[in-house]
Symmetry: C2
Subunit: 311 residues, 2 copies
């Protein structure tokens, strides 16, 4: 079986002007994830590498370029999970570190816990020698402008507010399967513009933002976090695969069922243990890309599926 790395750059009402940067970014993430495989890395190395690229890219709402809370601060969530033994690590509401996904991985590898929050996550980062950035280092002008627009136009976290916020929604995530059928998932986000201080999202929650189980596959989600948590989107997709659905059908059906029941949008990417791909979103757009063999596939519009040779 050929290994697969599949990424998303966030579901949302992405403005036309941001489409090229999102597509370039998801392709770069796939390249980094695949390079990790080629260097002999595991599925965890692949998903972490892919997510780090998007965290560092201000075109995405994670790491540098994250949206800001009501106080103008970046507070990030991330999770990572391995399908072989259900090992997992996550952080929530963490500040002033470049790569929340790598801290989540350290929680998995260096602690008896799954999830560390806020001051605890930062304390752990310091103990692990992760560089702590000066406050405000991750805040971009775009994120501050989105907050101003939110305060001016958005009275609540509605789709209208999201549009006024220049589409500044969109978590990043990656799923991977290796030649032996081992899977992993990783997801990272800055959350949603104008969120309350300390708001924690689906992205740090196993079964909502990320899930991986070698018996079935791996999932990473994006979209309206509160809605994704109420529906346990990642775990629902896995359970649909357990009930016999393909990765593709399980992903489409779950996103549609969530949107029908709770009237909010989301997206998800899925790989099965056999390398099947599932990609679905109920938002206007979601940037995604994957590499399998020597081809890179990508898209951002509904129904769009481009192909090109890998570099």
């Amino acid at each position: 079986m050929l290994p697969v790395i599949l990424v998303h750059g966030g579901a949302g009402d992405i403005m036309d002007s941001r489409v090229p940067a999102k597509i370039a970014g998801v392709k770069a993430a796939v390249k980094a994830g695949y390079a990790a495989f080629e260097k002999g890395g595991t599925v965890v190395d692949a998903v972490e590498a892919a997510v780090r690229i998007m965290e560092d890219d201000p075109a995405f709402n994670a790491g540098y370029g994250s949206v800001v809370n009501l106080e103008g601060e970046v507070e990030m969530d991330a999770s990572i999970m391995i399908g072989s033994n259900l090992s997992a690590g996550a952080v929530t509401v963490v500040q002033d570190i470049a790569n929340a996904i790598s801290l989540a991985r350290l929680v998995m590898e260096k602690t008896p816990h799954v999830l560390l929050a806020a001051h605890g996550a930062k304390k752990f980062a310091i103990d692990q020698g992760i560089p702590i950035l000066p406050p405000g280092s991750l805040v971009t002008d775009t994120a501050l402008e989105a907050l101003e627009n939110y305060k001016k136009y958005g009275t609540q976290l509605t789709e209208i507010a999201a549009v006024k916020n220049k589409g500044e929604v969109g978590t990043v995530g990656a799923v991977a399967v290796d030649a032996e059928g081992h899977v992993a998932a990783a997801t990272s986000t800055g959350g949603i513009t104008g969120k309350m201080v300390g708001r924690s999202s689906d992205t740090s929650v196993l079964g909502s933002g990320s899930y991986a189980d070698d018996q079935f596959g791996a999932v990473s989600t994006t979209g309206h976090g509160e809605t994704i948590m109420k529906f346990c989107v990642a775990h629902t997709i896995i359970k649909a695969m357990e009930n016999g659905k393909s990765a593709d059908q399980a992903t489409i059906d779950t996103i549609n069922a969530m949107t029908a029941k709770l009237n909010n949008t989301a997206g998800a990417i899925t790989v099965s243990k056999t390398g099947e791909i599932g990609i679905a979103f109920s938002s206007k757009r979601m940037a995604w890309a994957y590499r399998q063999g020597n081809e890179v596939h990508y898209g951002i519009e509904r129904g769009q599926h481009e192909k090109e040779p890998a570099e």
Copy 2:
């Protein structure tokens, strides 16, 4: 249909000397939950009232009497969920408030969010006029003694450590169904003795600690939090009911499957929308009780099921 209120007082290696207080406590919780129904309250009122009783009772690891982290501090998690529309609220790593479950309910009712963490949860509590207790108010001598034992004997969060910690594990939770088949779930915990600062548990995670959906039923879980999160125990039980299992069989099968796969113990309580009861635990003991009609049922040992007339 008769309404049901069903509670647990935590799965674990509960010492013999603590059994009477646990049983008295779960009965008191059921009484408070049922009284909420009798006063015309909703399922949410019932589960909140039941959990508050156990938070206030030092016989349980939630609210006053919570276990402490490595720094000797109480940091609490709680979640509440309504089955009719999947509304939910939760807090994680919150300090210095008496009833985390009531703060979780306020998150559900007064914010656009589901989960607030740490400083954000405390800030919200202050904004809502919840009394902030002097630091250390929730810390009992028993909790500090358990921490000393943990530091002396426990090198990691093993079952041996739990025994040395005098069985100081055990979240509290409640599920309820009303005469119309509406369900709700609520769960609250102090976590696990000697946890790292900022460690967040399954109890604040929808799909792990709590889940409620009027299409199927409601679940509250207890036990080794990291393991429960990896397995999404509450959501797995709900999905087993969706696949046709009874509340009882879904609960038993899920707890057994989790324990078989991940080699840690847990417990869960479930009510279906039709008032079926599910109670299971793979730990040595779990205190539980429920009231249906004029009978109160309770137990704490494997296979124990007592019945008495309601007061």
